[in-house]
């Protein structure tokens, strides 16, 4: 009985954190006025570099999530909406499945290195991960093609995405490489189940899909993924045949409200628990190898990497706004920080690799 009460309390607290985050996105002024400085501050927009919308000039736009329209491209200079997406009009571009809003779980990528964003991954409040291809220069009603890449929840489960997807390439070799999309869920309703941290594999990362191809795509479901910390099983998933769609971890409580970070093929994620009156949270961190989902960092500093590193409580409490990052001017060696707190066992180390040498003097 006390266990179920405790679980309910945990989910309620996780929900409070996540619900405040959603409120702060959709009703920023009222939410901030009620609880100034006490919000996880999910990022509500991403800066996008788009060449042209409807033959306009090259410009910098903001991609913003919301309830309706679910997505908008806002002109930075004028504040005008240049494009929007939703389930129904007056959205510029219609996506019939876009019935749940977005709350800042947005990541824009420049896939071909031409300086313009051409891919967006976004998590909605119904636990679905969307993928969009941006067609720079196309008319406003066709600037994006997109659809649901992964369907990992439903309205009754109360889990949604607030944290931006953390995207990384699996291998420098274009043939056989894929994109890892690491993203965690947050509880949006009281009593929502255990939250998850997913690592999904987009094996068609290099392909630009038409809308018809998006509609033909069968979304990845949780049953397609390997549950890494399933009590009944152990070990790491096998990618025999290159068909693994990804894997996930479950958490007994807490919500993921900030982006994970990927370093040297390992992802680390922070999970917020127990919001208190002083706007601070307890935080657990987890690490997984992007290759096979095994624990990847010595987060508990016991000198070895084991299953206990999948979920480690950090000492002390942290502000709700704390996110994983590297210090400014990180250089080639730097610890990972969560807010101002050093995450043990997590560090960025980079070394110079010689790739060629030649002698130019004629001798």
């Amino acid at each position: 009985m006390s266990g179920s009460t405790s679980a309910w309390r945990g989910s309620a607290v996780a929900c409070v954190i996540a619900c405040l985050a959603v409120l702060s996105v959709w009703f920023p002024h009222s939410a901030n006025a009620d609880m100034p400085g006490c919000l996880p501050s999910p990022q509500i927009s991403v800066v996008m570099r788009i060449a042209r919308v409807a033959n306009g000039l090259a410009q910098r736009l903001y991609l913003r999530g919301g309830p309706s329209p679910a997505l908008q491209l806002i002109d930075q200079a004028t504040g005008e909406s240049r494009w929007s997406a939703g389930r129904s009009t007056p959205a510029t571009q219609l996506f019939p499945e876009m019935w749940a809003g977005f709350a800042g779980s947005l990541t824009a990528l420049d896939m071909d290195g031409d300086g313009l964003h051409d891919r967006v991954y976004a998590g909605d409040l119904a636990g679905r991960v969307w993928r969009f291809d941006i067609h720079n220069g196309a008319p406003a009603d066709a600037i994006m093609t997109g659809g649901i890449l992964a369907e990992l929840g439903n309205a009754t489960k109360g889990r949604g995405f607030l944290a931006p997807p953390d995207v990384s390439l699996s291998s420098p070799d274009p043939a056989g490489s894929w994109l890892n999309i690491a993203i965690g869920t947050a509880s949006l309703t009281t009593g929502a189940g255990d939250n998850r941290f997913y690592v999904l594999r987009d094996r068609a990362a290099a392909q630009i899909w038409t809308q018809a191809e998006y509609e033909r795509h069968r979304p990845i479901r949780e049953t397609d993924l390997v549950w890494l910390n399933e009590p009944a099983t152990s070990g790491t998933p096998s990618d025999a045949g290159g068909s693994l769609s990804g894997f996930y971890l479950t958490f007994a409580g807490g919500s993921v409200v900030s982006a994970s970070i990927s370093l040297s093929g390992r992802a680390i994620v922070a999970v917020a628990h127990d919001l208190d009156a002083r706007c601070s949270v307890a935080v657990t961190v987890s690490s997984v190898s992007l290759h096979d989902g095994s624990p990847a960092m010595d987060l508990n500093s016991d000198g070895r990497i084991g299953m206990e590193d999948q979920n480690t409580l950090l000492p002390g409490r942290l502000p709700t706004s704390a996110g994983l990052h590297l210090p400014k001017s990180a250089g080639t060696t730097a610890p990972c920080l969560l807010g101002d707190t050093v995450v043990p066992g997590c560090a960025f180390r980079s070394s110079l690799t010689p790739i060629w040498w030649r002698r130019e003097d004629a001798d």
Partner: protein
Amino acid sequence: MVLLLLTAVAAFTASALDEAVTNRALAGARLAQQRAFNAASAGLNLAIAELRKGSHSPLHTYELPGADAEVRVEEKSRVMMPAGYSAGRFVEQFYEIRSSGSSVRGARSVQVQGLKRVEAEDPAPAYLDSAP
């Protein structure tokens, strides 16, 4: 007869002397070239050490014993999505270091080294930019 013999010996001696002088000149040039080569190598290593420390100047001259090295460090292409790292938060930076070693007698040696490493792009990803 003796005079003829002396003339022949003198001719052989002159030829041997000339060869010795030529060999010495060649050895000196080779030594100077080797010094220039070593100076270029040392310049490369010094520039790589600076780059490892995270501080490097695009053009630097190192004074070395009997030689010097002029080193130019150039940032070349950047891969915006290095494998295994968060896209948008890290880049793979390629460098080219050109080291030109100089020694006496105008001896010169040029060595070029290509390198790469993953670098943190920003303390925070682009989505942390505030909206208008």
